[in-house]
Symmetry: C2
Subunit: 454 residues, 2 copies
Amino acid sequence: MELVEIIKDSSRLFIGDEVGQDYLFDEYVGQAKSVHAVALPLTHEEVVALVKYANEKDLKIIARGAGTGLSGATAPLENELIIDLSKMNKIIDLDLNTMTLTVEPGVQLHEIQEYVESRGFFYPPDPGSKNSTIGGNVATNAGGMRAVKYGVTRDYVRTIRLVLADGRELTVGTLNVKSSSGYDIKDLFIGSEGTLGISTLIQLKVIPLPKVKKSYIIAFDNLLEATRCVNTILHSGIAPTALEFFERDMIQLSEKETGLVFPTKKGHSFLLATFDGDDASFIDQRAGVLKEIADKHEAEDYIILEGQSEKDAWKLRDTLLTAVVNYTEQVTMDETVPIHHIATIYEYTKELEAKYGLKLMSFGHAGDGNLHTCVLRGDIESDSEWHETLDTVLNLLYNKIQELGGLPSAEHGIGIIKKKYFGKMMDPVYLDLMSSIKTSFDPTNRLNPGKLVI
Amino acid sequence: MELVEIIKDSSRLFIGDEVGQDYLFDEYVGQAKSVHAVALPLTHEEVVALVKYANEKDLKIIARGAGTGLSGATAPLENELIIDLSKMNKIIDLDLNTMTLTVEPGVQLHEIQEYVESRGFFYPPDPGSKNSTIGGNVATNAGGMRAVKYGVTRDYVRTIRLVLADGRELTVGTLNVKSSSGYDIKDLFIGSEGTLGISTLIQLKVIPLPKVKKSYIIAFDNLLEATRCVNTILHSGIAPTALEFFERDMIQLSEKETGLVFPTKKGHSFLLATFDGDDASFIDQRAGVLKEIADKHEAEDYIILEGQSEKDAWKLRDTLLTAVVNYTEQVTMDETVPIHHIATIYEYTKELEAKYGLKLMSFGHAGDGNLHTCVLRGDIESDSEWHETLDTVLNLLYNKIQELGGLPSAEHGIGIIKKKYFGKMMDPVYLDLMSSIKTSFDPTNRLNPGKLVI
């Protein structure tokens, strides 16, 4: 069967030269001269037919959603068939018996959040890009702000209907809460960046919506004291929903970008904490403990955020990445280290800054040990010098991360841009097992070749 | 190298006829005439040497712990080398920076619970057998009482140091809270029942110990109303730590076994709920909501348990399995269905009871949809009739479970005794992927052959 027989609607099929530039490049990878075609299926059956077509024609396949990924995992390399799932965007059902939401992979995160919250339920994962698709969230095991209390995408995926590399169909996972019935193949797919199968239907766990929430800023002289405070908070059992950190220099970029004013002039390193719960008294009790902990760690300031001030503080936080992207050329990492080593990494960035003449800034999810270190071009004028210095600095940073027991990616995935570092950091036996899993699921290396798997 | 060179201490090595009966049979499987040897290593290096020995001599390997498994997964079939890890039983370290406990696989569950709780921390998974080893808990993804709030063993395993089938070593997982760095091989090992690797060191997530807890009994006329109440409880957000159900006939067996008296004469179906939290007022607030829900569902009785009465009620609950085992010959299942189908399964057992003349009793984890249906021999006199009827009834029950979207095992694993039903219930594509994973990890089928994998 030819492509035009599979996707009969010409507005959902672009062949060869018809393919728009948006599909050829992304922010991170600019290698593809052309792709075979882009197809936008509406149904599981169309995806199956596309995969079978690719097998017949011996084409490689890239499945993608909104294209908001940050690791180049959906960028084409050469002549692939791109299956764009963004038109498979229906919310099918919220089932209260199993407390699950059934969605197609092209539904965007903000649509899911709005849909369930308006019905009194809650889908906790909250990655930065609300326009990312749930299919992409699953493929990268996306994290976000609320992971410290609620976990990541992985923790909310109940089932995935998949099309395998050879066109076979399989639903992995279960609506049952517990299972000791065979190998956990579902978790193998989550975070596999499109290399093991293509999702066509996803069932997500939802929970009751917390009734109230409130946020707090704690200001410190330095990040080391801030991260010590994070450990005390986590030991206390007060379980914040979010526990973010950022530095004064980054928040200043965000102030310029938004026109908002950060609510304290004291301190250089900040924690932004949120609590949610059944009622205000529950949160106030926990906030009381938070205040005691802040005092114990000699915080410079402690600010209760309410109403507009809470919205503004979060807006400043949410704008950090955009602010730094708009400020200068840069690379944002999403490394993770055991929580108590956040400050170790930060201090190392200051050493590198002094030594290599570029600028490094940091923010991230303190409660998870997940930093976003931004390597900024700064005053480096020559392109070649910038790329050379960047590579040197990234290598040194990933070495340090490995030394501290960290990993290259907490939530964005490996894709293409982190593959080189990933290959150096991981145990060769692990890489070998990954490769044999890939081979047993996809012996012709049809799905997203060149990404993730070494 | 010969076995006596690997394990030089003769008290830790039994060869051929020296092997005790305890290793040859278990409660569920009685097929093995002999095993090659039983070795009790003390170190990772000894395990590696034993695996290499088995490769040289082309022996199959069974790794086991306390032998408390309920699916025959560690029973020998023919001439295996048994690696008994119960002497690798050291608690290595509680690290407060990463909030992880490092243990050897032979440490027993109760030792872990006592160790961390005495230090103000909490390891939530709570499978029935406190004498089971943590290695076995990981191998079966053991569940237990507190899964409804806290999840199962899988949710608390951070890393596993493994010896693979060919003797290579690998640590899977990470002490980092988040990861999008490659395939999730850790979760593949959890619940793989010794077929993919042998654990020699395990790092577990611990959380702050809740300061107070309190339990409640709600009595209903029938299980259908009880399970409707369960759904309302789960939607309310009051998040019980445990939410168990049992029937009057089972609790009567437990009363005889313990000499204790169940605290209400009203009702036939019961929920036993526990809440934990920071302080009494938090629990009382949630209990208030629980009482409202009980009233709404026209409960026959609502009892607040405190002090001795709470201990007694939980003793009665914890004794259910022993009570039925001591009462008569029986088979206990650990099936799981979507929560709202608990009553459907129960009603079906009553149909089967009427039709086949044996007795079926039920209890289990209502908040997880995890039943323990006990098929009792009752008045069937002839052995052959009992086995025939049992097989017919189990087949019908597993068919019904499959029809309702359930699974054969929630927490005990498949092992040998559920393999036949597992093979019928699961998607052939899934079984095929399981088999290819097994082959790529263990091409000579050396690790626990005959168990789990079809």
